[in-house]
Assembly symmetry: C2
Homo-oligomer: 355 residues x 2
């Protein structure tokens, strides 16, 4: 792929690495490529991160024909910069785009675009413990038209921002609200994709959770309102009676890269992993009778997020006395160890941006 480079007049000042937050600081450059029906993908370029111009009739502003991905670049102690399973994000975006009737952005081009942009932005990859460069590939329709239809023009872009340690003061268990009215996804819908609409529809649940003192929402399936699916921006796993339970990938749940990695590791460590429908009533029962040993979310942002409490209707269940579980901590240390290059990557999951 030939990538055109447009240099910025002046680079931005880099922010304090101890105070990065999430998404506060955009880097200097972005990757852009256009798709038209006639020419396919054209004009790969790395240009200054700056506003784009859209007609008010742009399809994306009305019909949300848009998908995105989320991944990170990690700086190892030796100064090397690595990605984590970038091909998984590339493939997931292709699946999202298929459902949304958007053209595929090829896997090899995706990985190359991310690598090349991170190379240009290498000074933006922070080195403080737990920090990383968050990478946001996204694609959206750019055609101007008011009829609902498959658009004929798209933009693929990658932007990045340095992000702080998710757990500034050590990993912290969170309270989770089991949502029994609002629904995130249903079989036959778009739940398995990272399309904008899924997230717009989920904000109300998030607001409700926060009002009840919870950090996130645990969604139930849309048909029976009974089976545990996933959390706001994480998949979720439970250790019950020594075995692991997590929702299967059957169309409603996002196939998380972290989820897949954790399942690999758990199986290697000898755990039985049940990708199955777990009823919320069984979860609460396990919480009360003491068989629910640990619970944790998995996702790129926090990697592993221990759950300290589930709130479901009038019932509350504490997990492991609101303390991080042994297995949860071990998984966190091991996977973040691989990502930041402190633990041997025996799975070959990390990709050096210069390789």
């Amino acid at each position: 792929m030939d990538i055109r480079f447009v240099k910025r007049e002046q680079l931005k000042e880099k922010p304090d690495q101890k105070n990065l937050g999430f998404g506060k600081y955009m880097t200097d450059y972005m990757f852009v490529m256009d798709w038209t029906k006639e020419d396919g993908w054209i004009d790969a370029r790395i240009v200054p991160h700056e506003p784009i111009s859209l007609d008010p009739a742009c399809v994306t502003l009305h019909y949300a024909q848009e998908t995105f991905e989320g991944m990170k670049a990690y700086r190892t102690k030796s100064g090397k910069i690595q990605l984590f399973r970038p091909e998984m994000n590339a493939r997931r975006m292709i699946k999202s785009n298929e459902r949304l009737c958007m053209p595929a952005f090829p896997e090899d081009m995706f990985v190359e675009a991310v690598k090349e942009l991170v190379k240009v932005e290498k000074d933006w990859v922070p080195s403080e413990p737990g920090t990383s460069l968050y990478i946001r590939p996204f694609m959206f329709a750019t055609e101007s038209a008011l009829g609902v239809h498959m658009a004929s023009k798209y933009k693929f872009m990658v932007i990045c921002c340095p992000v702080g340690a998710y757990y500034a003061e050590g990993i912290n268990p969170v309270k989770i609200l089991v949502e029994d009215e609002l629904v995130r996804a249903v079989q036959g819908g778009t739940g398995f994709t990272k399309c904008g609409g899924n997230y717009a529809g989920s904000i109300l649940g998030q607001v409700k959770a926060e009002k009840m003192g919870c950090t996130q929402v645990l969604w139930l399936d849309g048909v029976h309102r009974k089976y545990v699916e996933e959390v706001g921006t994480m998949n979720i796993m439970f250790k019950i009676g020594g075995e692991i339970y997590t929702a299967p990938i059957e169309g409603t749940v996002l196939p998380g890269v972290t989820r897949d990695s954790i399942i690999h590791i758990l199986k290697d460590w000898g755990y039985k992993v049940n990708e199955t429908h777990l009823a919320v009533d069984d979860l609460m029962k396990a919480g009360h009778d003491g068989t629910l040993e640990e619970a944790f979310g998995t996702g790129t942002a926090a990697v592993i997020s221990p759950v300290g409490e589930f709130v479901y209707k009038d019932d509350i269940v504490k997990v492991n006395n609101f303390e991080i579980g042994k297995l949860t901590q071990k998984l966190y240390d091991y996977l973040t160890g691989i990502q930041w290059g402190d633990v041997e990557d025996k799975y070959g999951w990390t990709v050096d941006i210069n390789a």
Copy 2:
């Protein structure tokens, strides 16, 4: 409301009224207003229709926090320009916004914004039979941020385009595919709103329908995959054994302005209207045993769209010999008569833009 006016250097040339199509020609001006957490709605303005500038991290491009409306301005034979129940669109947008955690755009301001814009654009309201000015109010988040959350900044805009007669050569019955795999909406989701995500998720069904020689998709409910809900951009009604059947407004179906108007008229005409769950099997059975007399979609674009055929799995049902039904035609003539000012508006549904 104080509306600032920014004049265009040069007005566009008006297109041929016999060849307007849908959404091909945008008018000269647009209405814009901004919302911030601190100031609420500010800076109402009518400005030239031109591209807007968005940061690539704009929430709308990632999480689709966006809603819209669709309505029309009609030119009567006497030259008067009128809207049709604009307050219904205003209220529906408020409901959509509530679900999407977006601020309400007040009803009176909505109607005023539409009226004032149409007044400025009055020469764009076409006079050829069946033509009108399509009006698209829409709202979207403008904040730049990569975390999923309720945005703190929004834009409300109204754009318009003259549109041609929907049925250039007289009303035409359409073929409709009953979709049994893909799902548009589910209880607890966003089906009752006009949010972008609903439409992005529906394109694949539309593509599938077209591949099978059908014009539109008839969606079934997401829980049982059994009950008839609505069509791509129309509600749908059936005349079976002399009575009318249509899906109830219970959270999954868009509460159409045309639907509501047609129900009013039908009741006044002495019809029994059943807003109830009709199973697709019962619909097909009624088609085969001859009790299904007529079927039609209702929506702002086509007003009334007769259905000539339903395709469901391997079963095909023809409606009224693929001819427009008597009641369908009568409803079409009556409602379009009111909208274009040829029939007395005894319901007080039309609103003169100068009133």
